[in-house]
Symmetry: D2
Subunit: 141 residues, 4 copies
């Protein structure tokens, strides 16, 4: 399984009065990570919406191992784990500037039709693109 | 000019590492204040959107006088200042639990059509409702 | 196990362009839910910090069953599942105005010392308070 | 007056159900813009805090000219307008990918001591740095 790496810098507004990044913001970082990956693969999430799909989150598992701090440049490693029916599972690892693993997550998204708001198969072009570009052990079940 | 009073409690996620409420969150508090006022008047903002209007913010002026802190219950005083053409000006005062004025703002919103995304006159029912309910010096220019 | 119920209203800023509440905001709702419960029990989280403790989140599991929408009044059911060593597990169920279960979560928090930033036992008064007030099957392991 | 240019990409979580960037998020973009400028000048805001200062916002004026959309790469032009006593005024212009001016702002910040939480003169090194690096019409009053 290939992983895609991207970086984000922690904003001041991401911190809370503990002096840590507030735990809700990791979901925003991971969202940035996966859309960076989609863009890299030639299928920006914006285009997926333009083609009539939405891809909401349906399941989240996060482990907070160490805190993140203001102004740190964090590295997000994003891996496509599995396409299965209408669902896409994505794995994330987050590293700080000292290369310490500070957070891990698995997030499952589901394709729905923008118009019917019902679950639907992912765009064929997208699945094809992933298979070609990744040449990985990505499972299309 | 009548003012409408509502309360919000500061969330932990609203704070930043200074230990204060992050300055961007006051805009969320004032948004809550004005939609509370609209709801009170019998015209929830939700219905305004359902009837085909949007009411984006076009101008903001905020003075930060004192910080706000986690868990404080803040009082938002909201006043409709003026309807003028497609625009609505709203004034805000924010008080802490010691009744100290900690923040003031004037926010201007503009009615636009949900479909054309162009400026448009506010819903007649809304203007009428305000005039009746407020019986104030609200200016409809 | 007793559950504690509290309500929040979905803010406009909580929505995203799908028209749903953005998935990161559920963590804010659940934070509100558990601090409402702590306040109800006579030990506001604010006091816990004042007494030298912090209670960061270390593990999150969320299932998104149905979307939430702007202006809905959601009911958060919060249950203390387990105190174990330095950790506290809390369960959440979120219901919409039609009494539909739209989201569930289990969140684990860990007590750390505000000064050393190291894990530490929870305040004795807090554990005692929970046992007295809840008279539940809350497990103190 | 020199301006400093930096870029940000609009996150999905920055949008609201109008399909626009929520108006509160511009304050986050401008915060990123000014700390990018400070970092460029060799005085990251992080170091300012480490040296015992805080720099909260005390006044905001924003004009929203056109909306911003998901995934756009926006250009923030940041200008230091004036140091005056304990205050720093910063000007901002925000451009979309079509080089249209979509938002302008003036934000005033005030130096306070991290310990006393009282207003204080800015760090001498910071003022010196700006004068040297900018060689501009920056006013130190």
């Amino acid at each position: 399984m290939q992983t895609f790496s991207s970086k984000i810098r922690v904003s001041y507004s991401d911190t809370d009065q503990m002096g840590f990044v507030h735990h809700s913001n990791y979901l925003k970082y991971y969202e940035t990570g996966r859309w960076n990956l989609f863009r890299q693969l030639g299928m920006p999430y914006k285009r997926i919406e333009q083609e009539g799909f939405l891809l909401p989150v349906v399941d989240v598992q996060i482990q907070y191992l160490k805190p993140a701090f203001y102004d740190e440049v964090l590295t997000i490693e994003t891996s496509l784990i599995q396409f299965k029916g209408v669902k896409l599972a994505v794995g994330f690892k987050l590293f700080n500037e000292d290369h310490e693993l500070i957070n891990t997550a698995t997030i499952i998204l589901a394709f729905i039709s923008k118009h019917s708001r019902k679950p639907c198969k992912p765009p064929t072009a997208l699945v094809k693109l992933y298979k070609e570009h990744l040449q990985t052990d990505l499972q299309i079940v």
